[in-house]
Symmetry: C2
């Protein structure tokens, strides 16, 4: 699998540091320091020019980080820049995504990005976007919504531990974003799992977008928090290369704890007009200022500017590329292009099964089909039934505790390192991590999400626990698919489809109460499909339901039959994509009268999806859905109250 | 405004503690301790019986908290239980909402809830829901999604500071929920604003729903974190009344810092079968176990059981009710039933104005109309233009830093204490707090939310910064209203409507780029309205846009006019509620052909809203919207790429 790195200039340079660590003299260290300062100097120039040409961007946020980023890539990290897929590469995540110029600048120094490409920054046809996305092949994960990078790093570091790989993961954060709670969710989990292969760097440049950060330059306040959360911490002058190099070495030595490097920096470092001043965030420098700034840089870094980096690189022998440690072949790695197949389940028609429990059993079987499949839980495994998977595969089950934001972004990190994470919690609590799910979609990271306890039909626990907007918030993600199975068989089959869907987020909604099995075990399902369960030559309407309301629709069908009223019934198990063709064909035969019924708020749910899919027809569509704030009560009482039960459907048909 | 408390038994009891603090002897203290233990005993019985009768609920989570809750209400707090609206009352928020029986049990001891009512727990007609909601008049805020109570408390404590009131706010959390990052966002802000009137209590019962909590009974680990975040902390045995009373006294004495009481407790305390055992979370005890448990309680709390609480209460003199400190009348309190009016703005038709900037100016004027109006910012005030308000009313502007979750729940706390919070950040970043917004809706808390930088039209910053799902996630909230103004005048007028909308969440979406003023300053707008800007006798289609796309629709109109093609154009500034009648009337005249165009993903946005509103008609509706993951580029390039610009509209009309 692993290619051997070719010999080329960039390669000399980046791993020199690793060699130097073991045998450096004052003389070589001083040269190395000059070399790193030269790199940082070049990166400052690149960042300034790129943002100036783009006419927008965040140069001052890049300038404060130039020195730590140069040292991290050219001294701290061990990786093969020509082969980003090398599974032994160290990883770097730019959590402060607005500082993207510094990321692109370092890849320019590595010979990955050309001078010309660098000039396309922020342009429509360029892969060098305003905030990093995966359109640039060396981006580990899309960032730009702050406070997520550390969770992604936790996922990558955890993946390394699971696979017995010894690569390190580096995450660069801004000090401003450390007020995001998600950072502390990640910090907690990283310490809990003793991720000593995770290195966080906080670029403490004191200034946010519009005001001073909460701790300004009081780095001790930062240090106390990281210590309290179980991390090793070291404070350095973020513009003193010796201190940064020392900290990076310490970070590779520490054991049993993750480590954070708190770098005291100056926002806009190198551009005197902006240095340590508010009012320059997200502002590119104008042409008229550029000459002064570039001149100042030349004098401030005079020694480094004159240093011959190429000659220095030539003098040093080629080191070996990163390799996986002897005999550490992991049990948990599988091929990434396998199609994952499952046996048919063993349910009996009519048997009552909770779809959330069917999920647990199906996930367990999936686990036997691919070593890459893992389960993440937000401390509700006995409600979502993820515990069934845990019992069989404890080493592929990750307890993320009550911290949904970290759980989702951690899933992105695990997925990027080759895992297939199935993440389950209450449907309602995915709303807690919607920004993380949104950014996972921007990363085109195929997370598998399963939300239980959907709708008013959960009963007595009340509205805070009812997932009533999950279909809406999962549908409005690019390339997402959304399933809502009504029985154990469809749950089983749809989960297999999710395991094989790699183009984006897949979401399944499960039901708390047990519902009867309606499908034979060999029934087949597809992405974008639906099932026509009842149809006749003289249907007066077509009822479209899914999950718990499908069973209400079937009850209504029986009652209406008793009164010699025929209706068609469709199981819309795939809410997105939606089978518009079948809906239209069946609807037409039913006189163009369609009634949708769902245990979800009206907006963004099944009814609006059907209304939009058929908005080119002359059908008369009525939507039965939850329209008011629910309360505690018995499931049946609440479904009657909401007007989404069999009685409400019968009433609507008769109207 | 403030009623004087009537004399009644409960009243004697609850404030006794406050008197005792100043003059207690060992004798009186011992009696007081017995009195509090008796209350805790009664509350345990009530919690056990209520959950047993309901057949569901979380008795073990209530039992661990019984002693701290009894001491907090009957010793620590100063309030008038008969008058929950008394603005000087101390406040109690049950962040661990699943322990609701203990909240109802204490109000039963206070004479607010009858024995009979207590037996309706979790029933459809009862206000005593599974997790507390405002249907029970003494609930401060709906809880049940964990990790939000502290932020709500921060809002209440901050409100007290703003108004010069000296009430304290108490928040009871579980240890499990302290892994939620939102807790640490709140902890940070509370310390930053020196909220020494905020008292957090963590019920450290060691056990979560499905596994042990991350720190188990290592309370020192909790203490270190709270200290590092700037809090005073004290560890107590949560079942030792003397220790709890001492801690509650300390909490009232501490200055300049919020304080947390870390209570080491036993889950299920009092029910031997469940005490400190996993597997009993969220399980009501069965009838057959109840007798043993009740017998055990009688012996365990024998001395307290025999104590005559009524006699004790009679012996004590009636204290004065809580009063506001002399001469502390606040400048920031206004009448809560005022209608808030504004002058017309001073824009000129054709003038180019950013709606986000118009928001800043309108908010500033609103500030002059009501002292209750405040502004909360997530460190983007110079992008949302909330800074215009801050400059004029710095003491009504709250910087919440980059912590959107806390910002929203803090808004609920401020709103509950009489403020009208306007909360603004990037539209995309409200997805970070969607669970908090969802729970604010469950609290029927009328937060005013304003999201800037909507859509691909923001340009170069790329997809992470583009609000493309905000309409979907705001529409699917019960009683929410959603506005999307297209110019400065409508922004100004719609903001006034938001200021006067008190039935739920109101959301406004603003645009980054400047758009021309199209309305006269005296134009009127309404909740659920729209504007027919163009209409003729021979329209071939009706184009429905809002915000930035409305201007594209108007450009398309001009181009089509040049080719003698007439179309109607509607400004759908109110996305929810939606003016179905006007859409239908205008659509019918336009041959039933409607084209919607929006800078938002297709799902849950304007197009689906229109499709659903007209799903009973035979109209042919086409939706132009963003359907793929965007990228960086110029606004015009991106709108062309997405197919939502004038050219795309013209093309669609011709088809």
């Amino acid at each position: 699998m692993e290619k051997v790195a070719h010999s080329f200039r960039a390669w000399y340079i980046i791993t020199i540091g690793n060699r130097m660590k073991f045998s450096h003299t004052r003389w070589t260290m001083n040269k190395l320091k000059l070399f790193l300062e030269k790199k940082a100097y070049n990166m400052r120039i690149s960042s300034l020019v790129a943002t100036n040409l783009a006419g927008s961007g965040h140069p001052t946020s890049a300038l404060s980080a130039a020195d730590v980023v140069a040292a991290t890539f050219f001294y701290g990290m061990k990786y093969d820049p020509r082969n980003p897929d090398n599974p032994n590469n160290d990883r770097f995540i730019l959590s402060k995504g607005h500082a993207s110029p510094i990321l692109y600048a370092v890849y320019k120094e590595l010979g990955i990005i050309s001078d010309e490409q660098m000039r396309t920054y922020r342009k429509f046809d360029s892969v060098l976007e305003g905030h990093p996305t995966l359109r640039f092949s060396h981006t580990e994960a899309a960032t730009g919504s702050l406070g997520m990078g550390l969770s992604i790093g936790v996922g990558m570091a955890k993946s390394a531990k699971m696979d017995g790989r010894d690569f390190h993961t580096y995450v660069l954060m801004g000090d401003g974003e450390t007020t995001e709670g998600s950072i502390w969710e990640a910090a907690e989990i990283a310490a809990h799992y003793k991720l000593d292969n995770l290195v966080a760097i906080v670029d403490c440049n004191r200034l946010g977008q519009s005001t001073e950060t909460i701790h300004g330059h009081h780095l001790k306040r930062h240090e106390e928090k990281w210590h309290a959360f179980g991390w090793k911490a070291i404070i350095v002058d973020g513009h003193d290369m010796n201190q940064i190099m020392h900290a990076l070495e310490k970070a590779r030595e520490v054991e049993h704890h993750p480590m954070v490097i708190l770098a005291k920096t100056i926002k806009g470092k190198g551009a005197p007009v902006a240095e340590d001043h508010l009012g320059f965030h997200g502002k590119a420098f104008k042409a008229e200022d550029m000459n002064d700034i570039l001149k100042h840089l030349e004098t401030e870094y005079e020694e480094a500017v004159e240093f011959d980096a190429q000659a220095y690189a030539k003098e040093n022998p080629l080191p070996s590329p990163p390799v996986r440690p002897e005999g550490s072949e992991s049990e948990l790695e599988g091929s990434s292009d396998e199609e994952i197949l499952m046996h048919d389940p063993g349910y009996e028609v009519g048997e009552k099964v909770k779809t959330r429990e069917a999920y647990g059993h199906a996930l367990k079987e999936l686990g036997s089909r691919s070593k890459r499949i893992i389960s993440l839980d937000g401390e509700v495994k006995n409600s979502t039934f993820a515990e069934i998977f845990e019992k069989k595969y404890p080493d592929r089950f990750i307890q993320c505790f009550i911290a949904e934001q970290n759980m989702v972004s951690m899933g992105v990190g695990l997925q990027r390192r080759g895992k297939l994470p199935f993440i389950s919690t209450f449907a309602a609590f995915f709303s807690r991590a919607h920004d993380q799910v949104r950014m996972a979609a921007v990363s085109t990271s195929p997370l598998r999400l399963v939300g239980s306890h959907a709708g008013v039909s959960i009963g007595e626990d009340g509205p805070s626990q009812m997932g009533l907007e999950d279909l809406a918030i999962m549908r409005c993600l690019p390339q997402s698919i959304v399933f809502y199975p009504s029985d154990g068989v469809s749950t089983h089959k749809l989960l297999q489809l999710m395991a094989n869907y790699n183009r984006g987020i897949s979401y399944m909604r499960t039901t708390r109460m047990a519902t009867p099995i309606i499908y034979e075990n060999n029934e087949t399902f597809e992405v974008g499909g639906c099932k026509v369960l009842k149809q006749s030559e003289n249907d007066v309407a077509c009822i479209v339901g899914a999950g718990v309301t499908l069973h209400e629709a079937l009850k209504a069908y029986e009652q209406l039959q008793g009164e010699n009223i025929n209706v068609a019934v469709i199981d819309l198990y795939s809410i997105k994509p939606i089978d518009a063709a079948t809906l239209e064909a069946v609807g037409k035969k039913a006189g163009g009268r369609i009634i949708t019924v769902e245990d979800h708020y009206l907006q963004g749910g099944l009814g609006e999806a059907v209304s939009a899919a058929l908005n080119h027809t002359d059908f008369k569509i009525s939507c039965l859905a939850v329209t008011e704030l629910p309360r505690s009560g018995k499931p049946a009482e609440l479904m009657a109250w909401a007007g989404i039960d069999a009685a409400a459907i019968v009433k609507k048909v008769k109207k």
